[in-house]
Amino acid sequence: MGASQITVLLNRINAGERHAYNDLIELVYHELRRMAVGQMRFELIGHTLQPTALVSEAWMRLADSGTDWQNRRHFFGAAAEAMRRVLVDHARRRDAAKRGGGLQRVTLTNLDVDVPGADVDLLALEDALNELEQHNPRMVRLVELRYFAGLSIEEAAEAMDVSPATVKRDWSFARAWLKERLDD
């Protein structure tokens, strides 16, 4: 797995192939999972996963330095979605292993911050995101980019090819909407 595979996939995406994007997600997913597993290997007290660091690292590993913005866009989109899957998978496994332990608290302040922390109930967030997907898929992409891939407002705007102002508005609403659901 390496830069050339990514490039091929990105070219295929640019050429309009539908499945190529899914393939990219798969590729990135496996890479992220491999890296994340390295970090999440054992349940540790005080262990915090750094998805954004993982995504950066995956980017460094997988992408050529010459990859242009168009492709970066695809990559980060894929990486964000892949990262979300990695985290949710992990949370599901961990949840299954838990025996009636208290659910993690659900404060959404962490959505303000780049890095998801132990505060957010990932599975509940996952459900909420799935629900949001029914209404406004673009917002979900945005949440993925900001929350799971850790992009700033400007970067997310670049990645989604919209203006930062639009991103800000979408983000404000999405965040409030999610928080409303997670508070239940």
Binding site: G46, Q50, D114, S152, A176, W177, K179, E180
Partner: protein, 806 residues
């Protein structure tokens, strides 16, 4: 339009309006009650989050409209005893200010006096990096307040994580913070609660500029009294644990001086570079005592290890220096810190140097990493064993004229062993699988029956069986047999003969295995001397004995002497023994270890890697020598802080050793200890602990394991338990270990010292300074250098200087 879209639309319309106007707005747009409610909730969520983001909460009706001549605008944040408002000044100039006022009710003399002292200190300061004090006064209801420059900006960590400035820019900002702190220190003010939320980045003339807020006042005003925070102790200041220096977290806090601020700055720099705080502390998951312990003892990995970005090594050194547990080792002033940062920005060498870094690693290898020290031991064992066998084989191969005699012996030996292994003994227990140990035990009995007189065959048999026990890690039996072999050799061949020397050599290995390093060194030196005289200076046995000498020196910490010996020896070995010589390969590996021990990791790694390649080529990948060499490469990687590579390689080695030697071999436990060390260094304490716990429990119930190995594991396990905060379990284990080691051999032994050191730390942690001192002295007596003790919390004990040497 769906409900969702409607909500969205209304939300967008209201989001920029003042909260008071939302209801009206929604009514104007004809929102039904249910929808209105939903949107209002969303809006509230939004403003709460936004508020928390920028630090502003909505005004409470209870808040006053004015304080003095200032008009209150908003309430940015609060502590337990004080409230901070954003206000507006009208005269003589219109500007925003921040007002800090004591909450009604907290008016003890102490608090007031403190408030006043801080106000005075603040007014002394005049620096662009520190929020200025503008005014002070008393409210209508007799509460004092201070008016300060209003600083609007983001906490420095958030600023950097959002804007992602270049490394240089980050360092430049940080440098300015250091300069500001230095200014305060010069005015006699210690912040004591430096943290990112107290350092805001504002824009001044288009450039980002840091400003420190809450200088000193925070100390008095932000003590929170909820159960989840730490500030429930009476009489001592407690700040955020993440940035708290060890002396602040102390059992009995010492005078806190400016270096506590240096530590906090170090922690902030760490966070700026890596995105996380150096220590993983959570006031919710850890009790206060655990937090104290973590702060005092857990060593954070250097920032370069914690971030995927590439950081210059100098930054590792600098950050670690600021984060030293022992405040004498930190930067003495914020200015010194700032200077080193400047040096890095400008590409010069900082004051903090690799000496600090390697010193830590050296400390790691010598003090903390039992595994590393013993790794080389066992590795060497394996080496010598392998080499000896090879030497024997080559001897036999070369001296064809003696072939007959030796072939006979060899035949006898193998037929004997075959018999033994077949379980030909009629008294054997029927229908049960024999363990290797039982086979050997039986073999020894038979040997003595079949060969009642010393002869060449018996010598060879004693050797073979002795080596077999050695390979199983059964050192006691092995030693007995090899002593017997030597006795026989001396009788059969005469002392000084090649064969006798060979058995002397084997015994050296034995002594080594039992941890009697000085004795082993003497033994090898004798062998080398006699062999040089009787067999010649370039004879293989001479060379191997000299190589063994080198390894002993290295084990005894006399690394430079060892390096000297190997540097001279290796060219000779290559010349005399040729390129396909396993002896040379193993000597090369020892050389690598010596370099490791001398902390010359950069040089050691390539040597070890070459050695690993050679050994593998000559003996195969699964040969214990090859595995042992890979083990040592992993140690070198660890020494170079390539923790991921070290971990991967250690895991591989552990798997290999388990597969080949079985799960209960001393080498396997050694591998587990080494892996646990790497994990611990990576901060993966839980896994390290799990590993060591498994190793410990396994060894405790396994009779085939050597005592020494068992105690090593016990001490290693106890060490990790202590790091994990579990003194209760650790202490009895350590005391057991000390007792066991006492019976095993003498009280001058580094492992005993290590155990005493751990005990001393535990005793100190429960405030038993007297006992701790006694235990510390025992550690020194057992050979732990006093400098090592000084680097720990024990360094503060009085009277440590005088070990009672008898």
């Amino acid at each position: 339009m769906t409900d969702f879209e409607r909500e969205r639309q209304l939300f967008d319309l209201c989001v920029d309006e003042e909260p008071q106007r939302w209801s009206a707005f929604l009514d104007d747009h004809g929102a039904e009650p249910e929808l209105r409610e939903r949107v209002l909730r969303l809006l509230r969520h939004h403003s709460d989050t936004a508020a928390r983001e920028s630090g502003f909460l909505r005004l409470d009706p209870a808040d006053p409209e004015r304080i003095g001549p200032y008009r209150i605008l908003q309430r940015p944040g609060e502590g337990g005893m004080g409230i901070v408002y954003a206000a507006e000044q009208r005269e003589p100039v219109r500007r925003r200010v921040a007002i800090k006022v004591l909450r009604a009710g907290h008016h003890s003399r102490e608090v007031l006096a403190r408030f006043d002292a801080e106000r005075q200190a603040l007014s002394l300061m005049n620096h662009p990096g520190i929020a200025r004090i503008l005014d002070a006064g008393t409210t209508a209801d007799q509460r004092p307040y201070i008016v300060m420059e209003y600083v609007s900006g983001e906490p420095i960590t958030r600023y950097c994580s959002q804007r992602k400035p270049s490394l240089e820019a980050i360092l430049e900002l940080f440098r300015q913070v250091c300069d500001a702190v230095q200014h305060a220190h010069q005015k006699g003010v210690i912040h004591r609660d430096l943290k990112p939320s107290n350092i805001l980045i504002t824009e001044e003339l288009g450039k980002p500029a840091p400003k420190i807020i809450d200088f000193g006042i925070a100390k008095a005003l932000t003590v929170r009294l909820t159960e989840h925070t730490l500030e429930t102790r009476v009489g001592s200041f407690l700040g955020t644990p993440d940035y708290m220096s060890p002396e602040q977290a102390d059992v009995s806090p010492l005078d806190v001086d400016t270096r506590a601020d240096v530590y906090a700055l170090g922690a902030i720099l760490y966070e700026l570079l890596t995105g996380t705080t150096p220590l993983q502390i959570s006031s919710e998951r850890h009790s206060w005592t655990e937090i104290q312990k973590i702060i005092r003892e857990q060593e954070p990995p250097p920032p370069g290890r914690r971030t995927p970005h590439k950081l210059p090594r100098e930054l590792d050194w600098i950050t670690c220096k600021a984060l030293e547990k022992e405040r004498n080792r930190r930067y003495a002033t914020a200015a010194a810190f700032s200077e080193d940062i400047t040096a890095v920005i400008e590409g010069r060498a900082p004051q903090a140097g690799p000496h600090t870094f390697l010193y830590r690693t050296g400390k790691l290898l010598r003090q903390h990493a039992l595994a590393a020290a013993t790794a080389t031991t066992v590795f060497m064992l394996v080496l010598i064993f392998g080499a000896v066998m090879a030497w024997q084989a080559s001897q036999i191969a070369r001296e064809r004229d003696r072939a007959n005699q030796e072939a006979d012996i060899a035949r006898n030996v193998s037929s004997f062993l075959v018999d033994v292994l077949r379980g030909a003994d009629p008294t054997s227990q029927q229908g049960r699988e024999l363990t290797a140990r039982e086979v050997l035990d039986r073999g020894v009995r038979q040997l003595e029956e079949r060969f009642p007189q010393p002869n060449a065959t018996r010598v060879a048999l004693y050797r073979a069986v002795g080596n077999a026990y050695l390979n199983l890690g059964r050192y006691t039996e092995a030693e007995q047999l090899l002593q017997q072999a030597l006795r026989d050799s001396n009788e059969v061949y005469g002392p000084g003969h090649r064969e006798s020397l060979f058995d002397m050599y084997n015994l050296g290995r034995m002594l080594l295995a039992r941890g009697r390093l000085s004795d082993a060194l003497q033994q090898f030196e004798s062998v080398a001397a006699i062999a040089a005289e009787r067999l010649g200076p370039e004879h293989e046995l001479t060379l191997r004995a000299r190589a063994a000498t080198g390894t002993m020196l290295e084990q005894l910490g006399r690394a430079e002497e060892a390096v000297a010996i190997f540097s001279e020896l290796l060219p000779i070995m290559r010349r005399a023994l040729g390129t396909e010589s396993i002896s040379t390969a193993t000597a090369l590996a020892s050389f690598g270890s010596a370099l490791e021990t001398a902390n010359r990791f950069e040089e050691a790694l390539p040597v070890l890697r070459e050695a690993a390649k050679e050994v593998e080529k000559l003996q195969g990948r699964d040969h214990p020598n090859a595995i042992g060499t890979r083990f040592n490469v992993a140690n070198a990687l660890m020494g170079l802080r390539e923790l991921d590579q070290a971990e991967a390689l250690h895991r591989e080695v552990l798997a290999d050793q388990t597969r080949i030697l079985g799960p209960s071999h001393a080498n396997v436990y050694l591998s587990m200890r080494a892996l646990a060390e790497v994990l611990r260094e990576k901060g993966e304490l839980e896994e390290a602990l799990g590993l060591m716990r498994a190793a410990y429990l396994d060894q405790e119930t396994n009779p085939d394991v050597s005592d020494f190995s068992r105690v090593e594991t016990k001490v290693g396990y106890a060490h990790l338990l202590r790091l994990h905060g579990n003194d209760r379990e650790a202490e009895p284990l350590l005391r057991e270990a000390v007792a066991e080691l006492g019976t095993l051999g003498g009280d001058r032994h580094w492992l005993i010292g290590k155990a005493w050191l751990e005990i001393a730390l535990i005793e100190l942690a429960r405030s038993d300074a007297e006992q701790a001192l006694i235990s510390a002295r025992s550690a020194i007596r057992a050979g732990i250098p006093i400098e090592e003790l000084k680097r720990t919390a024990l360094g503060r004990l009085d009277g440590l200087e005088a070990p009672q040497d008898r």
